[in-house]
């Protein structure tokens, strides 16, 4: 049988920078091909070329059957409904091009079920959690691929699991396996190498825009894949974390808002505290409510001897208290995509870059931006390029670096390593741990149980908006965490 997708000599140059270099690749029928590579190695660019979003440099040859895509940034419009987002490009029309809403509604139900998403099709996407949004994007991919008929079909997923909890991942894998059983193929991009090994038949590795290897997944260990990706061997992913000492100086009491009903905890300087739970449990609201990004309905936050009511807390006041928030929604809340890396980096701490408290010193900014880019291994290291020209993972590093500049005393993070490659993940962890060692409190809300288990001294498991369990010490393993999260 012929291949579903054949790429020959695909290159891509942005301005004067070549980000893809003569990539030649094929996907066979019924095959799942993993595509891995460091942040900025060109994975998304390759996929956007497939989808027609970017044009490849002249000389490339692309042969493909029917394709559907799940893009890295999800490509959803928050103000529109699940149904509209799912069907926007493929509405079925009845008499006089009228949209057949009832048919459509029934039609999408199947795909929402497939990904295990139990929401009404008329819900606004913006009202869903990031995880649920990811499932919507996957459902759209499934619906699209379903529509491409019985010929050669290829579903391309760019980091679909970045926001998914383990059960969502498993469900997705089940769906993908079913698809391939029916003869469709898939391209799967992920920074979670265990997932890649588990799901894929073959793995293509990009390094600096070049395809360095295409290997059988079964033949390689995670460590092998990692070395192929980075071109060097790597040490441990997780840093050693010192056990914190001293008196608790962050006290949160009765914090509520959104899905979160009531949460109380205390933290000592240097502690890394995790929050875990299922979507809707409120674990992912903690960073926002605590820093005033979302309006809390109640509770108090006490830092040292300063106590504030959470309901009146605003980002500005939170920052003054020494708090920092790294939100999950990079595009909307993280950084200004059109502005430069330097400008994004210095935004919250601009006064520190001024002369006479009124003139911004661009020289000082540039120097620090360069240093931060280096310290956080942002590539390409060009502080004057717009943030949106960086790959997703590198953007994430920039945004973490931006908050670190202010040397926060409380660092609240939501999915800080989403879309970040293993190497970068390691660096981010090292920075978090260093911040903790320097006396900051780090609060981490994430679906990555592995990370929680390794990094945190203690994890709060939430259900129904309340903390149902605190896991710490020897009990704190990924397995136990998952158990606690999924126990009902």
């Amino acid at each position: 049988m012929t291949n579903v997708l054949e790429l020959t000599g695909v290159s891509k140059t942005f301005d004067d920078i070549r980000v893809l270099h003569d990539v030649t690749l094929a996907v066979g029928p019924g095959e799942i091909l993993g595509l891995i590579g460091e942040n900025g190695s060109g994975k998304s660019t390759l996929i956007k070329i497939l989808s027609g979003y970017h044009a490849a440099d002249p000389g490339a040859e692309i042969r493909a059957g029917g394709m559907a895509f799940v893009h890295q940034d999800l490509a959803l419009v928050a103000s529109m409904t699940v149904l509209e987002n799912l069907r926007i490009a493929r509405f079925r029309t009845g008499f006089g091009w009228r949209i057949r809403w009832s048919t459509e509604r029934a039609g999408v139900k199947r795909f929402l079920d497939q990904v295990g998403l139990d929401v009404h099709p008329d819900t606004r996407v913006g009202d869903l959690s990031v995880t649920e949004q990811a499932l919507v994007a996957v459902a759209r991919g499934l619906a699209d691929i379903d529509e491409t008929g019985n010929g050669q079909r290829l579903l391309v997923l760019d980091e679909p699991t970045a926001y998914l909890p383990r059960d969502g991942v498993e469900r997705l894998f089940g769906v993908l396996r079913d698809l391939t059983a029916q003869g469709a193929s898939a391209v799967f991009v992920s920074h979670r190498l265990d997932e890649v090994r588990e799901l894929c038949d073959r793995v293509a590795v990009l390094r600096g825009g070049e395809l360095v290897a295409t290997v059988d997944a079964a033949d390689k260990t995670e460590r092998d894949l990692l070395e192929l990706m980075l071109g060097r061997s790597v040490e441990d992913l997780y840093p050693d974390t010192a056990s914190p000492e001293g008196e608790p100086w962050l006290t949160v009491e009765g914090l509520g808002g959104g899905a979160l009903r009531e949460l109380s905890f205390t933290a000592r300087p240097g502690e890394i505290i995790g929050f875990a739970g299922l979507p809707g449990s409120g674990y992912d609201e903690v960073p926002y409510l605590l820093t005033g990004a979302r309006r809390a309905t109640g509770g108090t936050v006490q830092l040292d001897d300063r106590s504030v009511s959470a309901a009146t807390l605003r980002p500005r006041a939170a920052i003054d208290l020494g708090m920092a928030l790294l939100p999950a929604d990079r595009a909307r809340a993280g950084g200004a995509a059109a502005l430069t890396v330097r400008e994004n980096l210095t935004l919250p701490s601009l006064p520190a870059f001024t002369r006479f408290r009124s003139v911004v010193s661009r020289g000082r900014e540039r120097k620090v931006a360069m240093e931060q880019s280096q310290r956080y291994a942002v590539t390409p290291r060009r502080p004057e390029s717009a943030l949106r020209f960086l790959s997703g993972g590198n953007q994430q590093k920039v945004l973490l670096a931006k908050w670190m500049l202010g040397e926060p005393r409380v660092l609240a993070l939501h999915e800080p390593t989403q879309g970040v490659d293993v190497g970068a993940k390691r660096e981010i962890f090292a920075h978090l741990s260093a911040a903790a060692a320097a006396g900051a409190v780090v609060l981490l809300s994430t679906v990555e149980h592995e990370d929680l288990a390794h990094l945190c001294g203690r994890v709060h498991v939430l259900r129904g908006g309340r903390c149902v369990r605190v896991i710490e010490g020897g009990e704190l393993t990924p397995g136990r965490l998952a158990e606690a999260v999924y126990a009902s």
């Binding site: 490509a75 926007i88 490009a89 949209i99």
Partner: protein, 314 residues
């Protein structure tokens, strides 16, 4: 509150009608209804025009120029060169559509924001209009055309009004019931995402700008036909009223989206107040105070009722 929001403008409208009917005997009569319905067709069509491009987040500031140009073009072809009305109208509309393509090429293909492009091309077109008419009022439009535009057609109201109504119907259907309409909203909300989702963003945006220019041209033709002469200067006065009506329309009927019936209501709402004031003898500056004031009041009211859901304009 949602219902309040949907109908806030209608309620204010009803209040205004009530007030003027109470204060002026002449106001509350069918002749007033006829008057209001039959004199606003040019604005109605031009408002639908700007609405189409606003619906995909494009600002077409050349609308006034196109209205002026369309009217003069048909007057020159029909009146000066003696073309038959049919071909003269068709060619004029087509030329306006071509102008829309210029706007589209510059703003969609080259990526220059449409608000800047149309500010420039609009001025250019006004200059051209003055040039081709030699800055003179153009006359000689066929009696047939003029009669068609002004003779009562149904319930004593001339045909163009029904054309406007038909265009509203089409715009309502397309925007609210077809995939294209949904896609336009999608594009307005997030152009990049729409592209990634596989929509033909370029085509749809360009199409909207062409539609705006086409409708603008049509409005100009109705204006020239109604007056049986075309004034090359007339267009510029349509810029602000059409945008005002389109924006006000976006706060009612389907609040938060540019929608046809909202625009329809807005056009007639705004004119009702002016008409009422004229009945009471307050022509002149009170009209403007009222116009501005009621625009602000209606938008604020439906906004408060609907808790900040407005189409994101800029």
């Amino acid at each position: 509150m949602k219902t309040v929001e949907k109908y806030a403008v209608l309620v204010v409208w009803a209040l205004i009608i009530g007030f003027f009917s109470w204060r002026s005997d002449a106001f509350g009569s069918t002749s007033t209804v006829k008057l209001i319905l039959s004199t606003q067709t040019v604005i109605l069509i031009a408002t639908l025009g700007v609405m189409v491009s606003l619906a995909v987040q494009e600002f077409d500031l050349s609308i006034g120029s196109v209205v002026g140009f369309g009217g003069c073009m048909v007057a020159v072809l029909d009146g000066v060169h003696g073309w038959a009305p049919g071909p003269a109208i068709i060619v004029s509309v087509l030329v306006c559509a071509v102008f829309g393509m210029l706007n589209a090429a510059l703003s969609v293909l080259l990526g220059i924001p449409s608000i800047i492009v149309t500010l420039g091309t609009g001025t250019l077109l006004t200059g051209i209009t003055l040039g081709i008419t030699d800055s003179k009022v153009v006359t000689g439009i066929s009696v047939k055309t003029v009669r068609f535009m002004t003779d009562p057609f149904l319930f004593g109201i001339p045909a163009p009004f029904y054309l406007g109504l038909l265009l509203c119907l089409v715009a309502w259907f397309v925007l609210q019931h077809t995939p294209l309409g949904r896609r336009m909203v999608f594009i307005a909300e997030n152009r990049e995402v729409a592209r990634l989702a596989g929509l033909r963003v370029t085509l749809i945006r360009a199409g909207a700008l062409v539609a705006t220019a086409t409708l603008g041209g049509l409005a100009g033709i109705v204006l020239a036909g109604t007056n049986s002469a075309a004034n090359p200067q007339a267009g510029s006065y349509y810029l602000l009223p059409t945008f005002a009506a389109a924006f006000l329309g976006s706060t009612t009927i389907v609040p938060g989206r540019f929608n046809a019936w909202g625009a329809f209501v807005a056009v007639y709402f705004l004119t009702t107040g002016i008409t009422g004031l004229q009945y009471l003898g307050y022509a002149g500056w009170p009209e403007q105070v009222f116009y501005g004031g009621s625009l602000v009041a209606a938008v604020t009211l439906s906004h408060i009722a609907g808790h900040r859901r407005m189409p994101s304009v800029a």
